[in-house]
């Protein structure tokens, strides 16, 4: 079963923004993420993963009434959460998806303290049932 794990940046996380961390702390964090993905491949569960640039450079595009693009700053300056990256994994069960999400949530922050990142877990559409 495929699941998408959405990693949210949030002001609910008890850590300052990553650009204010020590260089070594940032390196540790990035190494954690890279090792994590390597392990997902080794476990036969990796499908896809990407991290996103920060919300500062995000734009929202919407078609105007004349069909032309209307581009505004986004996602939503007032919003408390934004998408920071995602994984698509292919696992045996929802329980396993939760395990993996928990492991990501424990990514190290400043001082090596786990960030306890909120990870949204969504099932990817799968097949319709066999009829009859």
């Amino acid at each position: 079963v495929k699941y998408m794990l959405l990693m949210h940046g949030s002001d609910r996380i008890d850590a300052p923004p990553i650009h204010t961390w020590d260089l070594e702390e940032v390196k540790t964090h990035i190494r954690f993420m890279r090792d994590f993905n390597t392990k997902l491949v080794a476990d036969g569960e990796y499908v896809h993963a990407e991290g996103l640039t920060g919300p500062e450079e995000a734009k929202v595009v919407r078609a105007g009434s004349d069909g032309a693009p209307e581009v505004t700053d986004g996602p939503f300056p007032e919003s408390k959460e934004y998408l920071a990256g995602w994984w698509v994994i292919d696992v045996e069960s929802e329980t396993r998806a939760f395990e993996i999400a928990t492991a990501i949530s424990l990514a190290p922050g400043p001082g090596g303290v786990p960030l306890r990142l909120p990870i949204e877990v969504r099932r990817v559409p799968d097949a319709p049932p066999v009829d009859a």
Partner: protein, 401 residues
């Protein structure tokens, strides 16, 4: 030519692997060696023509790869002296498909691992083909397969048939894996359809081979009949835009009559022999559907009886749900809606979209359009399948317009 080479290679794959496993007790390395030999043959044969003895050629090439592997891995042990390359390898005449199926569908493996290993070691598919069919990266699939092989090794499985004691549970596991492969191909909702359809064809091919080896096993015959009878409806199951068409609304002239005939003959010959198991009953249910010239000709009392039998064999709430549908067709929707109320107490299904979809269908039968539309909407919001979501949303909209 290419087509026939591919077919030939897939048939030979388990035989070549079996021959290697008789000589070298290293499943993981032997399986890799066979895969390399198959890839070499797929390149060379279409270009240079078939060798005189294709199986001997494959065994020889795979043996060389195997020895290269042993030399590089364990040069110190000088294994090559114990296992000299035979220029004219003995070609065994046993069929090794069955032993390999039992090995690959080992109970120590998770279903996803057993599926991948079966498709490669028994089906002769490449890792890239399997990864493509399951829409995951090749590197992930390669790891899944090598881990599966390691698990089989760790479990101490050897190249032999299961004992009489283990046989029945082990065969159940094999049939389950074949069934899952079939379903993945039949119910594909994403990705390049053609690739995924191949999975159903592959499952049918492997189950056919198993049936040829165990012609007297009624559940093997039942599973093959079930696949044939289900697959016969494939072309009628989706519309031009990929939308799902329910059984009752399918254009039955698009059903594959030849395949239906084969499935019906098979299940008809099998059922009286007994003992009757769940695959046979499901095949019989599909035979009843397939034999009805129109949806209104469907023999619902017989289906109700068959679902009753199936309910006695399995604790699957989906079976209870289908039983309720058959009950409604025989005794009317009101009584069947009561059955659903009881079923809704089952936590495994209480929130499932199919419970809502069936309730919607029964309410529609009862003429309660508003309530039915609401249930269709609930079902649509709970399904993870896009074609099904579209279908359910359209049903709701149709009732309200």
């Amino acid at each position: 030519m290419t087509e026939s080479v591919e077919d030939l290679l897939r048939t030979e794959a388990p035989q070549v692997l079996g021959a290697l496993l008789r000589r070298y007790d290293d499943f993981a390395a032997a399986e890799d060696a066979v895969q390399e030999a198959l890839i070499a043959a797929a390149e060379q044969w279409p270009r240079d023509g078939l060798p005189d003895y294709p199986r001997g050629w494959l065994i020889q090439v795979a043996s060389r790869r195997m020895l290269d592997h042993l030399r590089s891995e364990q040069a110190r042990r000088r294994r090559e002296e114990q296992h000299p390359v035979e220029e004219h390898p003995e070609v065994p005449d046993q069929d090794d498909t069955l032993v390999l199926l039992f090995m690959c569908c080992h109970p120590a493996l998770k279903p996803s691992a057993a599926i991948a290993l079966t498709l490669r070691a028994v089906g002769g598919l490449t890792t890239a083909e399997i990864a493509g069919a399951y829409l995951i990266p090749e590197a992930t699939m390669a790891q899944r397969i090598s881990r599966a092989k390691l698990k089989v090794k760790e479990s101490g499985a050897s190249f032999r048939l299961p004992t009489a004691d283990e046989r029945s549970t082990r065969l159940t596991a094999v049939l389950h894996v074949l069934y899952l492969i079939f379903n993945e191909g039949y119910t594909s909702s994403a990705g390049p359809d053609l690739q995924r359809r191949d999975l159903s064809a592959e499952a049918i091919r492997l189950t056919r081979a198993l049936h040829a080896l165990l012609p007297d096993d009624p559940e093997v015959a039942g599973l093959l009949a079930l696949m044939l009878l289900t697959d016969a409806r494939r072309d009628a199951r989706t519309g031009q835009d990929g939308e799902l068409i329910p059984l009752t609304e399918q254009d039955r002239t698009r059903w594959d009559q030849k395949q239906i005939e084969e499935g019906v003959d098979l299940i008809t010959a099998t059922l009286p022999r007994g003992p009757v198991g769940p695959y046979q009953v499901q095949a019989a249910i599909n035979a009843v559907h397939d034999e009805a010239a129109t949806a209104t000709d469907t023999d619902w009392p017989q289906l109700l009886a068959l679902y009753g039998v199936l309910r006695g064999m399995t604790d699957n709430p989906m079976v209870a749900l289908n039983h309720a549908v058959a009950f409604a067709m025989v005794h009317g929707p009101a009584a069947a809606l009561d059955l659903l109320t009881t079923l809704a107490a089952d936590k495994r299904i209480a929130n499932h979209h199919r419970l809502h979809a069936v309730r919607a269908h029964l309410l529609e039968m009862a003429g309660e359009d508003t309530a039915a539309a609401e249930e269709y909407r609930k079902a649509a919001s709970r399904t993870a399948s896009v074609p099904e979501q579209h279908y359910l949303t359209l049903r709701a909209a149709r009732l309200l317009s």
